[in-house]
């Protein structure tokens, strides 16, 4: 397989090798008030392509985006289906607000599939133009089922109303090349390139369970494809297992009104207000337009929230090297960096002429998207690596090889801790010297993953399976690995230290898909501002925020313009953490697009339906009970003597004031045990309160009353729940 850079590639020759397996036309369809009311179904086993109508019932109940994804997947799979079963689907859906150009952050797609890491439905949000463009072709969702025999491209041609499935044997699968090659191949001209978007994976996605999907969009000024990632849960591994090389969409003539909304005037006015807020306030608030999410390194470190050396510590003297000042110098700034038209929060910064030092692209200068906070913390500080230039390369390879920087980083950190503690050695790692701080070893691990070789393939199975291997094959202490292996339900933790925030521990712990922060980020409210002193307060937040945040995923919006920019007087409102004015904007926006009456209450109800369906789905797939919400102790408190000692004063004080134990004269081990007993009890008490607030049993099962209240008590849903009640 040719894996050279695009300017060395003969696109015509590659295209000549394509074999058309299916070609069909579809009726054009205009969007009405945010909806096409159709989905495109593709089966790669049979090469069947169908245009499916979307019923009013589906639309009213599940709204779009993740809602559609969950419902389609629910209908497609049975409890025995696994990620690599042919009936597993990858669904990419947009949501009614998705595709408007006037309100920042309206270009997101939501991807749903059964995860190879968790065996549960996973959902991941992603920018880039694929979602909006495929909606403008007349589809609210794309469902791909079945498995191809050989590598294929699915091409949705919205200009000629045609879908093809093409065998594509020769293109390199690595995304930074493939996106460029296919954009060139399917666009008619340089100007036309912005009308093409490519979804692709990469070599490491094929050999691991942590593969991601890249969604491209063409940057007119830099004349390069930029990539945004549907990162979590191994979706890219499913994609490559189905032998999908790429999805390509083409649609020319994007304008601001293609959603055919009910009330354009309101949409523009809301958008203008937010653009101005960003113009005026970004540099007093988050500096997203300059630093992107790298500023979070600077924000987390002073509060002991940045994971260092596998979540043992919350800060490091070198941490700020990975922060905003380093990247402000490296980023190619001053150009529109939104991942869809009209996003002036523009967090998606890139670097040009970046020289690669390792692997197959060694010595080449590449244009590359810059690392996000999660990548810097996961592959950087959490692995003891503090060189920002090195991290750009780590991020480049994770993207082009298509693996999730969070799962890769957290897994690597776990391996490094085992290695440093001497409980695994080079015999296990195949000779890799995986100490904290060793970037070279980290990169070699990743290159092995891409080549399908050695310990890289083993590591690519994720922490859950590594723990089992280390216990069963090498006889390691299971209890210790359970304490320090930062995964739940099979998914690796994203990159925040939660030891001092009980609410966030449960935020991670109760998240349907596994420990990812998109459902909850409560640390500042809980730990720093102490705004939720009681269990009930925390439970209320753990009810409200997951539902509120789920709503972005069903309507097609990005979460960042909700609270990474705020009105200047937000702190004077009753509930600043909710950003009330922006919530009002969203309520108005929904009506302005769909023409439907809407309210804050209705917003939560829409989410709650999808959220509960996803919960029942977890039960259907064999996880989802309370016991799956128990976290590794490392996320709750100090596991080791070193961790305890690193914040001894804090912990000793807590023993006296909260636990009622005098630390004087106790060994550190005894103190750890006393603190652990207390914290684990607190966690269980909070779980009780959360489940109660959500209308679930104490075993985390949605009650029949709850399902009826939400109007989703379908026979097959009730059947699953009844088994456990």
């Amino acid at each position: 397989m040719e894996c050279k850079l695009s300017n060395n590639v003969n696109v015509e020759a590659l295209k000549a090798k394509h074999v058309i397996l299916h070609e069909s036309n579809f009726e054009p369809k205009e969007i009405y008030r945010g909806y096409a009311d159709r989905s495109l179904y593709v089966n790669l086993t049979t090469n069947e392509v169908k245009v499916k109508p979307i019923s009013e019932e589906m639309k009213n109940k599940f709204i779009g985006g993740r809602g559609y994804g969950m419902k389609y997947l629910w209908d497609a799979v049975n409890p025995d289906t696994r990620w690599d079963s042919p009936e597993n689907e990858i669904i990419i859906a947009q949501g009614p607000i998705g595709g408007i150009t006037q309100y920042p952050g309206a270009g997101k797609s939501y991807v749903v599939t059964l995860s190879p890491l968790t065996d549960l439905p996973i959902d991941s949000n992603v920018g880039g133009y694929f979602g909006p463009l495929s909606k403008f072709c007349g589809f609210d969702a794309l469902e791909v089922q079945g498995k191809a025999k050989r590598d294929v491209i699915i091409f949705i041609d919205g200009d000629n109303n045609k879908v093809t499935i093409e065998e594509a044997p020769e293109e390199c699968v690595n995304s930074h090349i493939l996106a460029e090659v296919l954009t060139e191949m399917y666009a008619d001209s340089e100007e036309d390139k912005r009308n093409v978007s490519v979804v692709s994976a990469g070599l490491a996605a094929e050999n691991s369970r942590i593969g991601l999907l890249n969604f491209s969009y063409y940057d007119l000024r830099r004349k390069k494809c930029k990539l945004k990632q549907a990162g979590r849960g191994g979706i890219g591994s499913v994609f490559r297992n189905k032998k999908i090389k790429a999805l390509v969409v083409k649609k020319t003539g994007v304008k601001g009104d293609l959603n055919n909304p009910y009330d354009m005037d309101t949409i523009v006015k809301l958008g203008l207000k937010l653009h101005r807020e960003i113009y005026e306030n970004d540099k007093d608030q988050c500096w997203m337009r300059v630093h992107g999410t790298t500023q979070l390194i600077d924000a987390m470190t002073p509060h002991d929230l940045l994971p260092v050396n596998n979540f043992q510590y919350g800060q490091h003297p070198e941490a700020l090297k990975l922060g905003k000042n380093s990247f402000e110098k490296m980023f190619d700034l001053g150009k529109p960096d939104g991942c869809w038209y009209g996003c002036t929060l523009a967090c998606a910064h890139a670097l040009k002429d970046f020289e690669i030092k390792t692997g197959p692209y060694k010595g080449q200068k590449v244009f590359t998207d810059g690392p996000e906070y999660e990548s810097l913390a996961g592959c950087g500080s959490n692995c003891g690596i503090f060189d920002p230039v090195a991290l750009v390369e780590t991020n480049f390879y994770c993207d082009t090889y298509a693996i999730d920087t969070i799962s890769f980083g957290t897994t690597c950190a776990f391996i490094m801790e085992c290695y440093e503690r001497g409980i695994i050695d080079q015999e296990v790692t195949g000779g890799l010297d995986l100490r904290f701080g060793s970037w070279e070893a980290q990169m070699e691990l990743m290159h092995q993953m891409a080549r399908g070789e050695g310990f890289g393939v083993v590591a690519g199975q994720g922490i859950h399976r590594l723990k089992r291997l280390f216990v069963e094959k090498y006889g390691l202490d299971r209890a210790f690995l359970e304490d320090i292996g930062m995964e739940m339900k099979g998914l690796e933790f994203s990159e925040y230290i939660t030891k001092e925030s009980l609410a966030q521990q449960a935020g991670y712990g109760t998240a349907n898909k596994g420990p990812q922060h998109d459902e909850n980020w409560l640390i500042f409210m809980d730990m720093i501002r102490n705004q939720m002193p009681t269990f009930e307060d925390k439970a209320e937040a753990l009810h409200y925020f997951p539902l509120f945040r789920t709503w972005f995923s069903i309507v097609g919006l990005c979460k960042l313009p909700w609270n990474d920019i705020m009105p200047a007087d937000n702190h004077l409102t009753d509930e600043p953490a909710k950003v009330p004015e922006h919530v009002e904007n969203y309520v108005a926006l929904f009506t302005a697009v769909t023409g439907k009456d809407f309210s804050k209450e209705e917003m939560l109800l829409q989410s709650e339906r999808v959220y509960n369906l996803q919960k029942v789905f977890c039960l259907k797939m064999g996880k989802g009970l309370r016991e799956y919400d128990y976290p590794p102790y490392r996320s709750v408190g100090p596991v080791t003597v070193e961790e305890y000692e690193s914040r001894k004063e804090l912990y000793d004080k807590q023993l006296i004031e909260k636990v009622g134990v005098d630390p004087e004269g106790l060994t550190v081990e005894d103190k750890i045990q006393a603190l652990r007993k207390y914290r684990e009890e607190q966690y269980q008490t909070l779980l009780d309160a959360v489940y109660k607030r959500r209308g679930w049993t104490l075993n985390a099962i949605p009650t029949l009353e709850k399902l009826k209240e939400l109007d989703i008590a379908y026979p097959d849903v009730v059947e699953v729940v009844s088994r456990f009640l």
Binding site: Q102, L220, G256, G271, H275, Y279, G334, P336, G342
Partner: protein, 130 residues
């Protein structure tokens, strides 16, 4: 380049400029469709708001729809524009306009019609170099 410059102290608020502009841009007399805007300041004189052709909006546009024409005037290519209004939100002077009956943003094209309609010399074309 020629920009519309002003001496607000000479403005009497007759709004003849707004009407002239609206006519040139949209063959209409709706003052809301004018690129130049006259606003009374608390009963004490008038604020005159119009684009100074600074060009900041050029770099904001995601589709390169905004450009300088051969006279260096900042123009919008309607065919390319995707109506995101980023340019309007990010104009330092708030001189990029929106009107609900007009598709896409609009702005001063420095034609001088308003200056010719002004009877007091409060607005005039001025040659400047950026």
């Amino acid at each position: 380049m020629k920009i519309v410059a002003s001496k607000p102290e000479l403005c009497i608020g007759c709004k003849a400029c707004e009407e002239a502009c609206s006519k040139v841009l949209f063959k209409d007399t709706d003052a809301e469709k004018s690129a130049i805007r006259i606003t009374p300041i608390n009963g004490e004189g008038y604020d005159i708001n119009v684009c100074n052709q600074c060009g900041e909006c050029i770099d904001i546009c995601p589709v390169q729809a905004i450009y300088r024409n051969k006279n260096d005037i900042v123009m919008i290519d309607k065919d390319k524009c995707v109506h995101c209004y980023a340019c309007a939100g990010f104009c330092p002077l708030l001189a990029m306009r929106y009107h609900k009956d007009v598709v896409g943003p609009f702005k001063c094209i420095s034609c001088g019609a308003c200056t010719r309609a002004c009877g007091t010399g409060a607005i005039f074309l001025e040659d400047i170099i950026y």
